[in-house]
């Protein structure tokens, strides 16, 4: 597209809008309140979601195959195949393996490995979040080279993950505490039907590779001694469950993961996978970290409302406020509460919520929603 498309658009500015704004300006003492509140809350809110969504200024937005073709799905049908992406990432697919793109944008490359074995060599300058969905396990890449082998034997699905360089985080409901951080030289086996407490079998790989040029989160670098100790204990399974949970959850890493979970929940929601989205949001809420937990509750409230689970939605919106929702979003939660309370016949409660929404400076459609119950 080389020529501007302005000739396709109306050049008329709405005279009524200009009059409205002119009248506001004559009465105005400053910028509209809601804008100010957004400016004030901008840092907090942005930190919550934009952390993983914002693109590094010089990173490419979307990964393509090195050949220039769009990355849609990869399949090794008759023999092993190696696919290279435009950012230098390589994926070696064993015969019979298929990988589909779920999301590919500035912040995330999410792939679904439906079957087979793939060795991933993730380029350091790749997307901030590189996620492989492998059925019963999700592998979130922090490091650079790892293998995911998804297979089924005797009707039992299992996934083996082996890290050659760097660090990955594996999430699965079949893992104790649902999460394990793996460093280079560690192998993990996850099986769908094993009891929770026995599901994890983490062991050193045969030949741990040298870790070089591996982008590791600062928190991990800073706690190298502790990480080694924890890693050793995870391998031998000697840490009690609670301690293991803490050990594999360095503070910085988990904050980043909360944001990644929120992003993934958003992806699922937009894809119509509400159950998965709900599960992720509930996980972030359960972690209780501010402000992500409150944002997750707000998002979950909307999801539940859309699913016509009014009572649960109401409770969740109330919880989002209690969890310390950024002030710029409090009005949104109150306006939703006003509607939900009104719909179940609690008109006093609806009026109170509507009033609070307006006081919080809610705008646009949410303002209209609140005004209907004042």
């Amino acid at each position: 597209m080389n020529k501007p498309i302005s000739h396709l658009l109306s050049s008329e500015a709405d005279p009524a809008a200009i009059e409205r704004v002119g009248a506001r300006l004559r009465q105005s003492k400053g910028p509209v309140t809601r804008t100010r509140s957004w400016v004030a809350a901008g840092g907090l809110a942005a930190a919550a979601l934009l952390l993983v969504m914002m693109l590094p200024s010089d990173a490419p937005r979307e990964r393509r195959l090195a050949s220039g073709e769009a990355l849609l799905h990869l399949e090794a049908t008759s023999r092993d195949e190696v696919f290279a992406l435009s950012d230098g990432t390589e994926m070696s697919l064993s015969q019979g393996t298929r990988v589909d793109r779920i999301q590919n944008d500035d912040a995330r490359l999410v792939l679904r490995q439906s079957t087979g074995r793939v060795v991933y060599r993730v380029a350091p300058q790749g997307p901030r979040a590189f996620i492989v969905e492998a059925g019963i396990a999700t592998v979130e890449v922090v490091g650079t080279e790892f293998t995911v082998d998804r297979h089924r034997a005797d009707g039992v699905e299992s996934v083996d993950v082996e890290v050659a360089h760097g660090v990955v985080v594996v999430r699965s409901e079949h893992l104790e505490d649902h999460i394990v951080r793996m460093e280079a030289g560690v192998r993990l086996h996850v099986e769908a039907q094993r009891p929770m407490e026995n599901a994890v079998a983490v062991e050193p790989a045969v030949a741990p590779a040298q870790s070089h040029e591996t982008p590791v989160l600062p928190a991990i670098e800073a706690s190298e001694t502790g990480a080694s100790h924890r890693s050793r204990n995870i391998r031998t399974g000697t840490l009690p469950a609670q301690e293991t949970s803490l050990a594999i959850s360095g503070e910085t890493e988990v904050e980043a993961s909360d944001d990644a979970l929120l992003s993934l929940a958003d992806t699922y929601r937009r894809d119509g996978r509400v159950t998965q989205s709900r599960a992720l949001l509930e996980r972030v809420i359960a972690e209780g970290r501010a402000p992500q937990a409150s944002l997750a509750a707000l998002s979950l409230g909307t999801l539940l409302d859309d699913m016509h689970e009014g009572t649960e939605a109401e409770r969740t919106f109330e919880r989002s406020i209690a969890l310390g929702l950024p002030s710029a979003l409090v009005g949104v939660a109150w306006s939703r509460l006003a509607e939900l309370r009104g719909q179940r016949g609690d008109f006093d409660g609806a009026r109170d919520a509507a009033e609070r929404a307006v006081q919080a400076g809610v705008s646009g459609r949410e303002r209209a929603r609140a005004e209907a119950w004042r």
Partner: protein, 202 residues
């Protein structure tokens, strides 16, 4: 006298009778409120048109127009070249629009449908052919995926027809950054439109 009207500009015959921007700015600085109103009347249509195309939301665009003027008038003393008022005001408006876009993107990600009631297809000129209208709708849909910065760069270039240097000046970034944002936005749009064609998405 026949005077062509463009973008709600004041007819030239009247324009000649009005003071210049520099003079109006000077009068606002000396406390003459009518001059602020005159500046608003003169520049509001163009600013509103731009911010509407940027934000794709009528209420947001009105807020941006309002806040841009409030901030411009409050900071008028910092304007060195009073004759450059129009460009300076547009730059402020784009900064305000950027905040609105970021807010809208975040709300969308939290599951709150942000009403895009002024998308490009909704702003289409009367009488354009159906194919162009459809193309505008497809572009508008893809633009919603963009970050605020990329959307602004793309709209300024491909809708407003601004050149790279103007985009850099209006968004207060280097020429290289403006170029990078524009390239990224254009590549993404091209890719997504092509992908949608492949996948049969309208």
């Amino acid at each position: 006298m026949t005077v062509a009207r463009r973008n709600h500009e004041v007819p030239r015959v009247l324009d000649q009778a009005l003071p210049s921007d520099a003079e109006l700015v000077s009068r606002v600085r000396s406390g003459e409120r009518w001059a602020a109103d005159a500046l608003y009347r003169r520049h509001a249509p163009d600013v509103l048109r731009v911010v509407l195309r940027l934000t794709a939301n009528r209420a947001d665009a009105e807020d941006v127009l309002h806040d841009a003027f409030v901030r411009a008038l409050a900071r008028l003393d910092s304007l060195r070249d009073a004759a450059a008022f129009a460009g300076w005001l547009t730059r402020i408006a784009i900064q305000e629009a950027r905040m609105k876009l970021r807010r809208a993107n975040m709300l969308r990600r939290l599951g709150f449908g942000h009403v895009a009631d002024a998308t490009l297809d909704a702003l289409a000129a009367e009488g354009i052919d159906p194919a162009s209208h459809t193309e505008l709708a497809r572009i508008a849909k893809e633009l919603q995926r963009f970050s605020a910065d990329e959307r602004i760069a793309w709209v300024l270039r491909h809708v407003e027809g601004r050149d790279l240097q103007e985009i850099a000046d209006l968004t207060d970034v280097s020429l290289a950054t403006a170029k990078r944002r524009l390239t990224r936005a254009s590549d993404t749009l091209r890719t997504h439109l092509a992908l949608n064609n492949e996948e049969g998405v309208p």
